[in-house]
Symmetry: C2
């Protein structure tokens, strides 16, 4: 039923060039994807908000960035940068210094909404090639100038904050070339500033553009796919939405070229070796604290959409849903490329959004209840299989067999099509909700199967203890030994301090319940303070020893990255 009382006044025009909003807005400037009426109704009901709450955007950050930053970089250094990369690739204006100093953490977004930037680069530099990076790193090392790397700018962990100013290197501007394509080895070597969609398009079109025999896919589709770089994926240990089959980025990277303060080197692309601890792996997840990744050699996969199978089931409860996902993950019939289970609260939101409104919805709802699939008990499981035709078909079949044995109702592949269609659009809704004073953010963790329930219950308890707060959770990266948990919370909130306290409480609760500090967002400067407590001082000291080795002057992404320089 259309609800005339719900008439949100979303802010639709593209943000003005030069505005704070243009920095924090997710995605392409002119593109928007507003929350549906069903979602707004749900928010009003669950949060006890009046529909009028959605009529007045506030703290929208539409003002132009003020020109009042003090210069923090000596002119001689700025000129040295221009000597290396050409002056057209050096920026000292306030807008650039602020733009490339902020990622997509809510803390950063709120600061920009309040027109109070959290940080500013001393100077922004766009290297053209690896030799530029080598010269810049050598110069900064000699001059003890902090150096922060900016890839796609979608870090949610304050990874790109130039905490001590200095040089910010923007990789996406020029360093976005394919360096090698090796069809025999099924690998591609790309510069680290290559953006996700450009990389995927190149592989998809390999026959025409690379004279390949087949079409390929990179297999890595993080939520940030459209606005992240290959280098960012590697530096933060990302995982894509199809990681259960294709692997996390840790599995995908065979070789790297890195420029560190003490020198440049490349790791070889052997599929496996027994020549001691793997330096290639030591650089994965180093978050710019050891050096600058300039190129990576990654595994690629056949693109065979014709073999794809999609399936969705509704299960009677959360324990049965976890059991189904675990049995699928441990079934030894290969892994689905997409597997995603939603807890009861996320399931209700999904059902509301995907068709349980209106008259058909009422009928469907009655049917579900008759089958024992009760609201706030039932859970959604969606999946997709890829690979060779029989392989993909068998995964869908075996998954279905497991789900049905656990009391599931088959929902066809439609919910997966819907999810797939909207999967890169959902983040656009964040800015609309923030405009209306409804804060939405996410926190995530990795868990072993035996600790999944306690982490889920413990974190939910804390989040739900806040009044008017929604907490949805799903797991979407599966391994035989466990999975991740991805918590999405929504709550009326506008203050930065209030947010930071709440966020810190959630992180502490995740770790206290036995979850990892991060499954795929990385640590950045946001979660650095938890590192010693979570991994143990002895282990973080290993990373500190590596840091001292590569970066004796602590110029690389200093100021708390990975918690390395907090002592």
């Amino acid at each position: 039923m259309p609800d005339p009382s719900i008439d949100p006044r979303w802010l639709t025009p593209p943000p003005l060039q030069g505005s704070y909003r243009s920095i924090f807005k997710w995605g392409a400037p002119g593109r928007s994807y507003h929350p549906r009426t069903g979602l707004v109704r749900l928010l009003c009901e669950r949060m006890g908000l009046s529909p009028q709450s959605f009529s007045t955007p506030r703290n929208t950050g539409e003002a132009a960035v003020r020109n009042d930053l003090p210069a923090t970089m000596d002119a001689v250094h700025v000129s040295a940068m221009a000597d290396i990369v050409g002056k057209e690739n050096v920026q000292c204006d306030d807008y650039a210094r602020i733009r490339y100093a902020h990622g997509q953490a809510v803390e950063e977004i709120l600061a920009l909404r309040h027109e109070r930037p959290r940080a500013a680069a001393g100077v922004v530099v766009h290297p053209r090639q690896r030799e530029d990076v080598q010269a810049i790193v050598a110069y900064c090392h000699a001059q003890h100038i902090p150096l922060t790397v900016y890839g796609g700018g979608s870090s949610v962990t304050l990874g790109v904050t130039p905490a001590r100013g200095g040089v910010t290197l923007v990789m996406q501007t020029h360093m976005r070339r394919l360096l090698a394509f090796n069809e025999a080895n099924r690998t591609a070597t790309v510069e680290s500033g290559m953006m996700g969609p450009a990389y995927e398009a190149l592989l998809n079109d390999a026959p025409a553009r690379l004279r390949a025999r087949h079409r390929y896919t990179c297999g890595h589709f993080p939520q940030s796919f459209e606005f992240s770089t290959v280098g960012g994926w590697v530096a933060t240990l990302g995982a894509g939405q199809q990681s259960s089959y294709y692997g996390d980025i840790y599995d995908l990277v065979l070789g790297q070229k890195v420029v560190t303060p003490i020198g440049t080197f490349s790791t070889a692309d052997y599929p496996a070796t027994a020549t001691g601890p793997k330096v290639n792996d030591i650089f994965k997840g180093s978050e710019g604290a050891f050096g600058v990744l300039t190129a990576a050699t990654l595994k690629i996969f056949r693109l065979m959409p014709e073999n794809r199978r999609r399936f969705a089931y509704l299960l009677p409860g959360w324990p049965q849903t976890i059991a189904a996902a675990r049995e699928i993950s441990q079934g030894e019939f290969g892994m689905p490329s997409v597997l995603r289970i939603s807890d009861p609260e996320e399931t209700e939101a999904a059902l509301q959004l995907y068709g349980l409104g209106g008259r058909i919805g009422e009928y469907a709802e009655r049917l579900l209840r008759l089958k024992g699939l009760l609201p706030m008990k039932r859970c959604l499981l969606i999946g997709q299989s890829d690979g060779e035709r029989h392989f993909a078909r068998n995964i869908a079949r075996q998954s279905g067999r497991i789900c049905r044995r656990l009391g599931a109702l088959w929902l066809s592949g439609y919910p997966v099509d819907r999810w797939s269609h909207g999967r890169f659009l959902d983040p656009y809704m964040r800015d609309d909700l923030h405009d209306m004073g409804v804060l939405i953010d996410t926190l995530e963790t990795a868990v072993t199967w035996d600790r999944l329930m306690q982490v889920h219950a413990g974190v939910r308890e804390l989040i739900k203890a806040r009044p008017q707060t929604l907490c949805m959770c799903h797991a979407s990266h599966f391994y035989p030994q466990g999975t991740n948990l991805y918590f999405i919370f929504m709550t009326p909130m506008t203050g930065v301090d209030d947010f930071r306290r709440f966020q810190a409480d959630i992180i502490s609760r995740i770790v206290a319940c036995g979850g990892s500090l991060s499954h795929h967002h990385g640590v950045g400067k946001l979660m650095g303070p938890w590192m010693d407590g979570h991994l143990g001082r002895a282990q973080v000291d290993v990373l500190r020893a590596l840091k001292r080795h590569f970066d004796p002057h602590n110029i690389m992404n200093p100021g708390g990255t990975l918690g390395l320089d907090l002592h």
Copy 2:
């Protein structure tokens, strides 16, 4: 046809207790597995040896170990060790000091055959539990006493050589317990001294012995399986014969407990994390140079032999065989657990051994030639699939489809049964051949697909340049990006110096052709001198920085391990 002229006089009695032979003989003392007549005939033909060469064992090392070693360990230290572990767990006799100072490298075997041990421990200590290891490591650190770890003793890279004497820790004596079994997570936690067969038996019998719902397998079956420890697998980055499906040991280890000179710590068992470079992985392959591994948490898998499929094909040439293996590895229908391709020379030896002798053999040989499968061209491919029933069946089918398209003849599953039956017996033949002055040794490497042919041809060329030398090669660990190459050479040779020169030449050739220094044997002290040249000084310096961090006094397996302390 039986050949009366071939009547080898194998040395059959078990080696005398206390003899040099008892140290180097492969496997259980009373067990032997002699080369078949067909193999001896082949060797005589190919090497131009007379059958009489096989009538007189020499350099058999049957003498008792002499008691003439000088004491190298201060009595006060020996007594300190006894205070920690009890004096029944401390050995100072010459036999123990020599036994635990030698692994299974041919250089070690030849030295013992000539009754000239290469090295001796100062004192041999058998820790009972982790606390013992902690106390021993702390003591040695404080006193600057070298410490070498001995697992199963099957290192072929001089990994257990106590190059500077000191304490040798024998892990297999007491530290062989299961610490945890987690069926929900599909993991087992075992002490590092657990031997392969004991570990596998425990998992196979999990319903009875661990009250599990299912039977399990560790999935890791290196050639050394029967005489290696879990800790040794991890420390040297081993790969099992079913690694193409189950993964190398690098993939199998989720968590470790390690005791280093600067402290003890455990890594968590999350299936994946994004909390910086993974300290768990940094310890894999550290070959005892950073600390002592006391326990590991490993993935386990369902044991489902009822689903197993075996297949074997004969292909018309080496290029077609490589193409078949590559297409299977890149087919995206899941990986066979066993996949093994033999080059033409290995294929001829296998066919001779497995039934192409005698009258039936002659007939079969004629048939093969008619089908274009010519001697010294044709190649054997064998495979096995495991996992869920339809999954395993599909792998066998798709593999067959690929092979047939490339001109293969189906050989049934019989050759795989034969291989499987003999796979842990083959090493027993080594001692028989050595007794007769025929040296057999192996060297291995990892290659990407595009460099496979050049490494194979280049290494073969060097080996075959030596007169009277057989060179067989197979690949048996597969990845979408490449594989390994395993070279077996046989040549009449008895001198240690001659052997070392030949071996060094082969290693240098492997690296020069673009192969890795090791796929799964590890580096040890044998290949340490090649590390800087192979990986580049910058990368080995990263390992040196880690070494300094964990082991500032260089007490852990010093004297060339991983090439860390050669400068």
